[in-house]
């Protein structure tokens, strides 16, 4: 369907002006076309442009509109039914706008809160209700899947209003490569327009809680793109990560139950990870990878120093991974060169799941994230370690009066 809405042919008036009669013109185009022909500013050089004419085509527009509404309702209903039958349920979109709402809490009186920032593991594996039950306060979740926390940490370091506690999740392949799937979240939060804020509010209150298909994984182009298209010779085939989680309004997020209940979907998710485990020509050389990791650690070290300067308590956490994913991480990002170096350079404390038996033995269906029930168990275990070894729990009346961090 085109979106230009006018013809470039000259009107009868112009033809007459150029010496052709209207009769000549009628032999060229039927009168029906003339009814909708019109000049534009392109046809009238150097003169005042008149009020435009915009005729409405003759159609039973009332009946058409009714038909459109009925048909559209049926189509949307069918699309919604299809995805619900696939197992999808409505959840809140994990957008930059949603992240911004949580980020703004820090500047709106919750600067002393516990803030979580990391990639998908800290995001899916740490359950806010469990933490709240144990701590008395619900943390602010600022993690983003597939996204290095470095930029967010730097943003918090530049914010004097943040004086609370910061847990930084470390997923080695994301953290030490500096990869950012959701780049620019902090910048977006600071520059979000009133229109974007209103749009976010409308969407998370009136659209997302109702429609299951409102998820990027089921957007038209994404669905079409993952059909079995013929492979182009020489072009590496790479399947994008599929839907893995469900998010709530305060960004409490958990692994999608389909990964537990559907072996096929689980295997597909594992195969998608496996793509990363295979070396490609586009991978950085070991020297380049080490250089990048060092840069990330150095930047993080500066940010941590700034945070500590204004009283923030920082703790790194390496959540569990298993199976082929863990083997890949150990191969590409050996602990000594990454995790140990990070703690040494930043001087901040850290919890590595391999160092604590209570953080091991969880079920991670696709080797990278825990099921919801396991995440709840993990959160309780992690909180226990933190409150026992690093930070004293908040007394009910006067929080943050003491600190036992090493």
């Amino acid at each position: 369907m085109p979106s230009s809405i006018s013809s470039s042919e000259l009107t009868p008036e112009t033809h007459e002006a150029r010496g052709r009669s209207a009769a000549d013109l009628s032999a060229v185009a039927p009168p029906f076309e003339h009814r909708y022909k019109r000049q534009t500013a392109a046809d009238r050089p150097g003169v005042a442009q008149p009020v435009p004419v915009r005729p409405v085509p003759e159609q039973p527009w009332g009946a058409i509109l009714l038909g459109v509404v009925a048909l559209l309702t049926l189509l949307i209903g069918g699309w919604e039914w299809y995805w619900r039958a696939y197992g999808v349920r409505p959840s809140i979109g994990n957008t930059l706008g949603l992240w911004s709402i949580q980020r703004r809490r820090i500047d709106a009186g919750e600067g002393s809160a516990t803030v979580l920032v990391g990639a998908s593991r800290l995001y899916f594996d740490l359950q806010l209700p469990v933490w709240e039950r144990l701590d008395g306060k619900r943390p602010i979740q600022l993690s983003f899947e597939g996204t290095s926390p470095l930029t967010a940490v730097e943003d918090l370091a530049a914010d004097p209003k943040f004086t609370g506690r910061l847990i930084i999740g470390v997923a080695p392949d994301v953290f030490f490569s500096g990869f950012e799937f959701h780049a620019g979240a902090a910048r977006y939060a600071h520059r979000e327009s009133p229109s974007q804020r209103v749009g976010q509010w409308l969407s998370m209150h009136f659209i997302e809680p109702l429609l299951a298909f409102e998820d990027p994984d089921y957007a038209l182009a994404t669905v079409l793109q993952r059909q079995p298209w013929p492979k182009r010779p020489g072009k590496m085939w790479f399947t994008n990560v599929r839907k893995l989680s469900d998010t709530e309004a305060d960004r409490n997020t958990h692994l999608w139950s389909k990964l537990e209940s559907d072996p096929q979907y689980r295997e597909m998710a594992r195969n998608i990870w496996r793509q990363d485990f295979q070396p490609t020509d586009e991978d950085p050389s070991p020297e380049e990878a080490l250089k990048t990791a060092t840069e990330q650690i150095d930047r993080m070290s500066k940010a941590v120093a700034k945070l500590r300067a204004h009283g923030v308590k920082v703790l790194f956490v390496r959540p569990p991974s298993t199976g082929e994913y863990l083997a890949y991480e150990n191969r590409q990002f050996p602990r000594t060169r990454t995790w140990d170096a990070l703690l040494a350079v930043t001087g901040a404390p850290g919890i590595h799941f391999e160092d604590y038996p209570q953080l091991q033995g969880y079920y991670l269906p696709e080797w990278s994230h825990m099921t919801r029930a396991e995440a709840e168990r993990f959160t309780a275990a992690l909180y226990g370690i933190i409150s026992r070894e690093f930070w004293r729990p908040n007394p009910p009346a006067a929080a943050h009066t003491a600190d036992a961090s090493p």
Binding site: M1, V51, G199, L220
Partner: protein, 471 residues
Amino acid sequence: MVFNSLTFVVFFACVLGVHSLPLPWTTKKINLLIASYLFYSAWNPPFVILLWVSTVIDWYAAQGLVKARRATARHAWMMLSVIANLGMLGYFKYGQFLLDNFTALMGALGIAYHPAHYDIVLPVGISFYTFATMSYTLDVYLRRAAPARNLLDYALFVTFFPHLVAGPIMRPTELVPQFAKPRRASAEQLRFGLMLMTLGLFNKIVLADSFLARAAERVYDGNSMPGTLDAWAGTLAFSAQIFCDFAGYSTTAIGAALCLGFAMPDNFRFSYAAVGFSDFWRRWHITLSSWLRDYLYIPLGGNRHGARRTYVALMVTMLLGGLWHGANWTFVAWGGLHGLYLAVERVVRARFVNYRPGPIVFVLLGLLTYTLVNITWVFFRAKTFGKAWLVLRGMFGQNSAARPILSTFYLASVAAIVGCLVLTHWLMRARTLESVVARVPALAMCLVWALMAFAIIIAQGTGSAFIYFQF
């Protein structure tokens, strides 16, 4: 706010509701003015001040023009308007560009100049509304139009939200008279207006954003060297993207105005069926090209002072037209190429005055025009000349070491959309959308409209800005 956002859906529903209330016409106009300021301030509230400044300066300049008795006084009032508007545009849009070029020039002369950081946010749509307000004082200066009868009508002309941020660039004589007496859309206008809005948003959200933009980004924003197929696919994708994006915006704007009972001019006329470059500019961004023609090319002498002066006027107009699109030399190169094309066409036409092409040659000339237009898009899309050369080399088979960039899905979707788009433009080049819509059976119309609306919803657009907002 952008048209392709939930915020706009709610905003527009409220505006339609309020506009249909049985209120005095002046009250309705005040409501529209307030709504338009809300529409603009939804991006960045402080920038409404710029809109006010532009409005007030041109209002008083036009008043001064009418009252002035001496030619020098008239000239002075006109210059006040031009300098104020271009000054504002220059500061916000070209400040960084000028500073960068000055620094580079100093560097070339061996002077290490380190200017202070120039952190200015470009007010959205500033290029559009400054041109609209300038056309007001210029039309009064050129005695083509009388000034608006009251400030309310004039302020509403400048601010009317459907055209405010990305055109069509309205002339005062097109819109101000529409505010003179009460207007309310008929039921048919409202429904057809909604259909136009659906069509415009389908172009933007589904075709431009969901399919074409991604293919263009992979070729133009990635680090890989494109081969012939990828370079052409990326460029064709962008040529279709910018059409669907911008013509989509114009169509949505025209539909929104029609829903309120106002008529706005056409901005595109099946541009990719143009035969020749003068024809292209009669079909592409008509309100800008006619603005540049009326307020720049003709005052520069147009074709009234011999061939040499004509070519100079043509090149100056197209170079400045290119710069209007963005503060980057690549845009100037884009405008310069179009200026060159127009000049060459002028020479060829003068030489073959009596030549009338047959149908096959006509189509071939059209395809040649389309191909050459696509080459100009490379400079428009590439962020640097280096990238532009890389893509151009690819298009002409010079990147032998290139590896495939676009997957079969992208190649197929670009081929399908570009093919349909160009074919549609050729089929409709002598028609109007209205004439085609009037002939379509009602059932088919219903089906097409519903499918477009459905595609918009399931495409799940992210509310990305229209390309022309940055201009």
